[in-house]
Assembly symmetry: C3
Amino acid sequence: MTPVTFADQSANDRSLQSMPTPSFFHEDRLFPAEAAVRGIARELHASVRDLPIISPHGHTDPRWFASNEAFENPTALLLAPDHYVFRMLYSQGIRLADLAIPDRNGVPATDPRAAWRLFAENFHLFRGTPSSIWLSHVLVKVFGVEDRLDGNTADAAYDTIDAALKRPDFRPRALYDRFNIELIATTESPVDTLDHHHSIAASDWSGRVITAYRPDCVIDADHEDFHASLEAFGDITGEDVSRWDGYLAAHRQRRVDFMAAGATSTDHGHPTARTADLDRGEAEALFDRIVSQKQRDGDAELFRAQMLTEMAAMSLEDGLVMQIHPGSFRNHNSPLFASHGRDKGADIPTRTDYVEALRPLLNRFGNEPDFGCIVFTLDETSYARELAPLAGHYPALKLGPAWWFHDSPEGMMRFREQTTETAGFYNTVGFNDDTRAFLSIPARHDVARRVDCAFLARLVAEHRLGLDEAHETARDLAYNLAKRAYKLDAQN
Amino acid sequence: MTPVTFADQSANDRSLQSMPTPSFFHEDRLFPAEAAVRGIARELHASVRDLPIISPHGHTDPRWFASNEAFENPTALLLAPDHYVFRMLYSQGIRLADLAIPDRNGVPATDPRAAWRLFAENFHLFRGTPSSIWLSHVLVKVFGVEDRLDGNTADAAYDTIDAALKRPDFRPRALYDRFNIELIATTESPVDTLDHHHSIAASDWSGRVITAYRPDCVIDADHEDFHASLEAFGDITGEDVSRWDGYLAAHRQRRVDFMAAGATSTDHGHPTARTADLDRGEAEALFDRIVSQKQRDGDAELFRAQMLTEMAAMSLEDGLVMQIHPGSFRNHNSPLFASHGRDKGADIPTRTDYVEALRPLLNRFGNEPDFGCIVFTLDETSYARELAPLAGHYPALKLGPAWWFHDSPEGMMRFREQTTETAGFYNTVGFNDDTRAFLSIPARHDVARRVDCAFLARLVAEHRLGLDEAHETARDLAYNLAKRAYKLDAQN
Amino acid sequence: MTPVTFADQSANDRSLQSMPTPSFFHEDRLFPAEAAVRGIARELHASVRDLPIISPHGHTDPRWFASNEAFENPTALLLAPDHYVFRMLYSQGIRLADLAIPDRNGVPATDPRAAWRLFAENFHLFRGTPSSIWLSHVLVKVFGVEDRLDGNTADAAYDTIDAALKRPDFRPRALYDRFNIELIATTESPVDTLDHHHSIAASDWSGRVITAYRPDCVIDADHEDFHASLEAFGDITGEDVSRWDGYLAAHRQRRVDFMAAGATSTDHGHPTARTADLDRGEAEALFDRIVSQKQRDGDAELFRAQMLTEMAAMSLEDGLVMQIHPGSFRNHNSPLFASHGRDKGADIPTRTDYVEALRPLLNRFGNEPDFGCIVFTLDETSYARELAPLAGHYPALKLGPAWWFHDSPEGMMRFREQTTETAGFYNTVGFNDDTRAFLSIPARHDVARRVDCAFLARLVAEHRLGLDEAHETARDLAYNLAKRAYKLDAQN
């Protein structure tokens, strides 16, 4: 059972056709059943499926590419870091410890193979979810595991994957190359040394792993590590970050550092999309209250709001593209947060307003064609009502793709159906995978390309778009728009 | 014109194929038109359509099954209790009195046949609505009335139905058996004697008619009968319900009574999903203000919120599954409420938050795998944004099916399309009909099974699910999940 | 290249079939690809496509029909007045001045041909938008321009259109006749003299151009021209509009004037749907504060709310149908408003509540079958949750069609899919184009008819509706419902 490689896609297709494939891994997967639409989708997809992957926003660990060490085992690689996966198992009463998920005391002493078996026995829980598509893609395309995962096939799959991980061609850099990735962005905090990125740059490997500036921990006064992070921020920059001027200067300094490590963007994950445009005196007084822990009700929210506008002002100076990701209620499950900490599948989307919230920032900088501000949402009701109308008007504003809970095939289709009519395709920025699960990256881009081709195919079949236009648009959605929106051509 | 029976479904199918059927009563009704998808849907449906009906949540009258008396006439049976039907006629300017709808003075002296005729003449108003599907199903399958209802066919239909209702095989128990119902739950208030359920249990009839505990009238201080109900609650339990301890003890006592009458669940229809987790002293003080009519602004809402958490605590003790149905603005039409009272089609859904609202309850009990909490919504925007992420994480939480205004084919499909990607199928609880309209129960389950099969068929056709997996899932959705979620296996 | 005429549709179809047509202008455009559904849609559409156009709500300029002067040039006719079009170009960094869009100083000195070229070069931005469908329809059907617009075809298209506009058969009245318009409503303010309507009535032309009463400028105290408009309102009526009685009398007087100019409706574009039902003393005191510029926070909103109920009371007297269009945040882009004024594509939809908001008005007048109140929304989340349940109950309430940002094919389909199940077809009012872009009116009605036929075709194909019922419903949606809802039969 030799794993197929991604580089030779056409050979891959032939081999898939000659063997009985699991039904959810058919070459026509995700294309509409109607023959005419499917035929158009297939044709469009054929011209984009081999395009390199641009991954301008994600959460892979740069250490992987710096050290290029082998991944540990199937459970540690595929199950433990993927909160999409273990939250579903947890929701059905399975204990996280039994899945070898780390808690505040570290990784539990669970046999990784036993955890894998428990996962496999419950694989039916993922029916109809994007996780099942991504996992199947990884198993089939990366490891050549053709049998559907269940209690009977668990051990054989584990053995195959475990053996592969010990081989050099399954190390991070080899996988990056095999996945046909042209560029991947990671996300670091302002107190990160960026050493891994420096190592990668100093190495003889040609992969492009760039960083992105995510300053939430020194902006969000509600974050449990805020004051510690602020202190580290002062240490790493040498600025007096207890003063408003010094604090802003520290941001400017680190943005330069990040740009030197390839960054073309910043990233802001706030509870709401609120922005503010205070005058200098008000902003300074607010910062003083925050930093001296004399904050009033609403100050933390107002400071986050003001800092988005400050970051936008810096973007106008240095050219970094700004990403705003609002709307997640973090750590909703208090007992679980107490025992296990962050990122355990308990972040829940909330209703999010953009019209009032973004107005201060947009009235200040929204008419600047050189400023790029990409907005994401976890509240799909805002697509047609708020985000598409805003992006279809303001030169600075672009729409990030369907994200997190909504990067399912249905979610991606809703994104196109509800934004294209008002914002068109060209106020969107292509796909990004936003993932920590490195091996799933080709699977996620594959899903996005298929769904976009399916949407375009319907427009062609309904005589709303020429086939030539659809081809051009498909390539833009799969490749060009991400490079343009994230200013990746000008870089390196 | 012999009415066909439900028991012999295959004979029924043959007879339908040999006669010209009304177009909206075709054997492929509700299946997608595309041939491949339709073929799969048809195959899946064939394997679930004869499964017994589990109706774990509804509003039929237990007296029907206790007394087993004949239904009065077509209008009293099919029109008067169905506010889906008469609200549509009312919305087009037809007077409720002319439809023989009871007002606060009782049933008006309207000729039931004249009311039926008026209904039939306006049957076109129901085009595209689930009511038209359900009514047609009842007419064709239960009464053998094959002609579409209109002014010309009204009298013949009335005569056929009226004659049938006088026959023993159209009495409630016979219909229950013929409908292949395995279990039906009714809903009673805490001041109900449950006499009808006791009669049924004492009879030689094998039908399983169980109750469910719906304590709204003694929990909702905004209900017009709250204080009267509270007094009756004290009388029926012998507890001093003017004291917090006695009030809680009365609930515990009645829950035991209800479980003796088969109950496996409680049911809570609140204006919002708000829950609270007050300490004992605060809860007692709140209750004292409520019961002594010294309540402050917000106390009624806070008390409802606290009582959901109290009910959850009792569910952990006694095992009753908890159902929360928030989001209806009851009796929106004041003049109509004054003249006609409740349940006249003037309950309107409202925007509903779950993320903040359910947090107190979930943080207390959400991680308990043995606690079952089923949440419904009238605000579909919460499916993908709030409910699926919550149910896809918390072990205790499950999603009730598309409900009330949303149990249309489109509404059911939206439910699957917007919840499956994040919560999967196995955090949902199968279908329930939630109806007072007894005769429509097979029609409603038939629609649900068809829509679920259509959804699964698309997943199969798009190579996202194996056909074997789809078969297993279809059976789970049609039958097994309801039994599991409502703990119906362990019972009787 | 002779422009085809609308009157002889069948000849037109033949000629289209014999020539290679641009792919987005196929005779099956917008019909679902599946053959059975498409066949039914095509059949339904064939029976409605030649029905006359009823345009009961729109914003064309009555001066066009009064003076019947030639339109100026392609850019002034098709680009400058269409904020759907230029906002998309603006969103991609194109300067409004380069598109010849007027600012507060008037029309810039931009060569109209150069502006047209810039538009044509960026026509790809409109892929997937309704604007591309409407513009293509206008180019092909009105001007016979068969080549897709781009940088290469820009000049030829400009020349063809410019030449046509100089001919008598492209003057406003000729186009009205050729478009097969039976009636068109414009919208005027209470300070308008209605002179253009009087001229049209006095002319020998048979076109029916009626007005509608839109009193926002004398009701909305937040409007920049409120006090000036109020003074003009006093001047034109001779009433003392600084007193509550005189103010109401002025409205009554102008409603009579508008009815004399054909009006059958009023139109109210408020930020929210809020209504109020104050007693006379409260209302008078509120008005006094407003008019004397002593208003408190919330007074402007409360006054708009109260005036909706006052307008409803007048509608009960004089029979004018009331239209409520809430939910637009006007002039969101302050710098652009400062430089360019209103209607520059910067009005953004907002979340809108109807359940609480409309209750005061509905509790007062909602049960009156002779009162017609048509509600529109820019918040699609209200379709299934609020508007369809309200319209499916209250006799007075009807649903306006998918509107503004939502009159795309997808938006129209969502409207049917989310309202029909609860409100049916007969609580909706047919289509209206709501446009200033006169030439796009046939295109917009064509899209609406096609989408409705596609929706009906699916219901037929899924055996939920008889083909005969679908035919009748298609005609009602395309023609009859608009006439009935706007009381257009009784008039002229």
